[in-house]
Symmetry: D2
């Protein structure tokens, strides 16, 4: 009778362990997937930031060139 | 003798189940944390994008105003 | 005979003086006209120069505003 | 007596003619000088206008380049 009880406990535990391990594998998969998404998102953000920095440098150049133009116009008005 | 064997199996299974459940909780915590980070990152990106759109609209305005200035300069030169 | 000669001289002188005075009036008219044209031209140039100065000030403002935009973009990129 | 009168008239006319001719030469000089100033002023104005046209073309280029920058920023925001 005691052996039958123990066998029932063992079977229940085995089943529960299998369920928990299945859940575990699922969680690990979700985690890996999320880590990949986060990494991809960070890579994209970094590329985006780099592109923005390039645009910022171009804008710097344009402002510099407009300032040169402004100075030339000022000189022209002064000398006229 | 059979009962002792079953008891040993039950203990082993119980221990393994506890370990697996601990690992499970840890994974769930990691997953929740990562989801929060991803969500925060998306919120930040959205705010960033919104700020960039505002800057784009300001840039549009500046280009429009420079074009008006250009047209006024052209008219002035034509009429001089 | 001397009197006739003197009369002839007087008539010639009178005619020449009239011609010279006519030429004089014509020159004075031309001079007045030219002075008016020069004055008008200077007035127009001054107005032109004033309009250009106004455009220069507007350009200064636009460059300042573009620089503010540039700084805001730089801050946004730094904080992202 | 008549001859003396005529002689006096001739002398007066001669003197007046000389004065008028002197005034004439002075006016012609002033006129030539003013014409030269007007011509110089027109040449300068033409050079000034040409320089302004060059600045206008440079401004056109800068506005075009800022518009390209604006479009690239817009694309970048759309694709992020």
């Amino acid at each position: 009778e005691n052996a039958r009880q123990l066998q029932a406990q063992r079977d229940t535990l085995t089943k529960k362990l299998q369920e928990t391990e299945t859940r575990n594998k699922d969680l690990e998969l979700q985690l890996a997937e999320l880590e990949q998404r986060l990494e991809k998102s960070q890579t994209e953000q970094e590329a985006f930031r780099k592109n923005l920095k390039t645009l910022l440098e171009i804008l710097d150049g344009k402002i510099f060139e407009l300032t040169e133009l402004r100075d030339n116009l000022a000189k022209l008005i002064e000398c006229s």
